[in-house]
């Protein structure tokens, strides 16, 4: 089960509120501006700054 287009259209980085892009393997969402990666686990994006990985 992939993330809905409706959801991807409105998701943003919780830190800068800018766009996030879905990784090719759909395992995470990346904010290029903040250089943060938000994991997706069990089809639920974990959009928490304190749990994001620096890239």
């Amino acid at each position: 089960m992939a993330l809905d287009k409706e959801l991807l259209d409105i998701l943003a980085c919780p830190k800068c509120k800018g766009p996030v892009k879905l990784e090719e393997d759909s395992s995470g969402l990346v904010c290029d501006a903040c250089r943060l990666r938000y994991r997706i686990e069990d089809d639920i994006p974990i959009m928490l700054i304190d749990e994001a990985e620096e890239i």
Partner: protein, 255 residues
Amino acid sequence: MTEDPRKTFSKSAERYLDSADHRTGADLVVISETAHAMLPGVTLDIATGAGHALRAAAPYSGYCLAVDLTAEMLKVAREHLTRAGLNQMGYVQARADRLPLSDGSVNLVTCRIACHHFSSIPDFLSEVRRVLAPRGRIVMVDSIVPSDEKAGEFLNRVEKLRDPSHVRSFTMRQWLEFFNIGKLPIASVSTFERTHSFTEWSRRVSQKEKDLKEVERSFQEAPVNLKKLFRIEQDSNGAVISYTDEKVIIIAERR
């Protein structure tokens, strides 16, 4: 010190699905009617819990988004709403005061019986205002405390004893001020009373007998005026049967 709600709700998520305090209520009718009166768009439920508010709004929404701080809670909501045949749904783990959504992307925000867990109501409302589209609305429901300071402190103390992730319940006046400062003009305000079965209410968060006894003792030893105010009912042995508090429903619109 306030406990991280993730710790509290990861252990008690399932109990919020069946909770009579959460699966029923006049406020769910208000949420449903508010969604019905608007053009179908994106409905965002903040701190969704088991998803009861979204279930009420979903028939009148284009797309529904459940946001919660706790992954376990989102999984309970997903199972509940999928079983109810609702599929136009997304689930996202996020903080209420750090919403991962673009500006103006939401038509209706619901937030039901959750704000007392938030660390900053102004930050939460600022984020709500940011994500709402012009003419978008919020329906906020939460417990309120009496304006009498001692009565308010008593209820907040008991709530925190029962649930360490409880931050604070506010008075009606404080809520009106929060919306005023947050530049979200209020369209309507109403209140309703909720009688909580002590057994269900107290065991929803903690199952430890020692903690539960302490919460019960607080009600048993409350001054007479507070027993009357919160309608604390006890059986012939003194065991607490129920108490009653007040909830506020505020509907506000982003101009």
